[in-house]
Amino acid sequence: MAMTWVWTGMVALSLVFGAATGNLAALGAAALEGARGAVELCVSMAGVLCLWTGVMEVLSQSGLTAYLAGAFRPLLRRLLPNACRDPETLSAVSANISANLLGLGNAATPLGIRAARLMSRGGGGAASDELCLFVTLNTASIQLLPTTVAGVRAALGCQDPFDILPAVWLSSAASVTAGLLTARLLMRVWRD
């Protein structure tokens, strides 16, 4: 529903502003131009983006994801001690985190859902502190390789689509840290 308000608000504001500034003639043309531009942009990105997701699929089938999952278990045991007592939950959580790290959003979501279902057992519809933390970590995004964005940059003619990596890592680390700190604080002060 949120996007309904964003979209309708933008169109309505455009009409008001267009009428006020006398740009109304350009408005209809701009709407059609936008729709055409959307398809052009999509087609121009298609080839490179598909090549990209293809290469990532090869890497993930080659076991890179499973390798990363093993590396993250010790850290997860500290962050989510209760959930990680159950080996099935631990494996779902670490697979989710490593798919996220590689920027494989499509693989991360089903794994994350499985982890969330396992963690919610016996909670009676209310999220436990650890489940809140797990979801917060997922919303903060912890990507080492933002593959979709890199694919889009490559498709738009960028010579070195991964030159943003250090900046992405810095920003991801900051947002995950902010999420963790806020979680720590809210865990203590939250009253249901």
Binding site: T109, M119, A174
Partner: protein, 173 residues
Amino acid sequence: MRLSEWIVPLLLCFAGLYGACRRVDVYAALTRGAEEGLGVLLRVLPSLVGLLTAVYMFRASGAAEFLGRLLAPLLSAAGIPPECAPLLLVRPVSGSGALAVGSELMERCGVDSPVGRTVAVMLGSSETTFYTVAVYCGAAGITKTRWTIPAALVADGVMFVVSALAVRLVFGG
């Protein structure tokens, strides 16, 4: 010889060899992944049409300029280029919408411009907060998300500011 000239051929070669050594049907995996990419595009295209229509209208009417001028003091105090304003609105609520708005900004301002880079970093270091919360908690049968959304939104706010800051630090300017 520049490193960037090597990246694409090397990556393709590495993926092929690594996969083949691990007994993966590399070509089948490549085409399956490409199909997944097509899926991403198919999911983005409808939002792209909807949002770009609105964005182009917004810009042609002069409303974008007005909003930009209105938000500019706030955004520049946080070090965020004012062009990014639409992305900040859409990012937490729609992933395909954010990719649509972001791609258009990158194309219009240039992928290697400060705005283009900031947009890319913002897209690369964030998730669709409300969608993620809805999907995970919905699938787990959670009706009380408690402090998840406040914590996630704080993380998003920090991410926006640090993305702009990180681009300035890494690329100068």
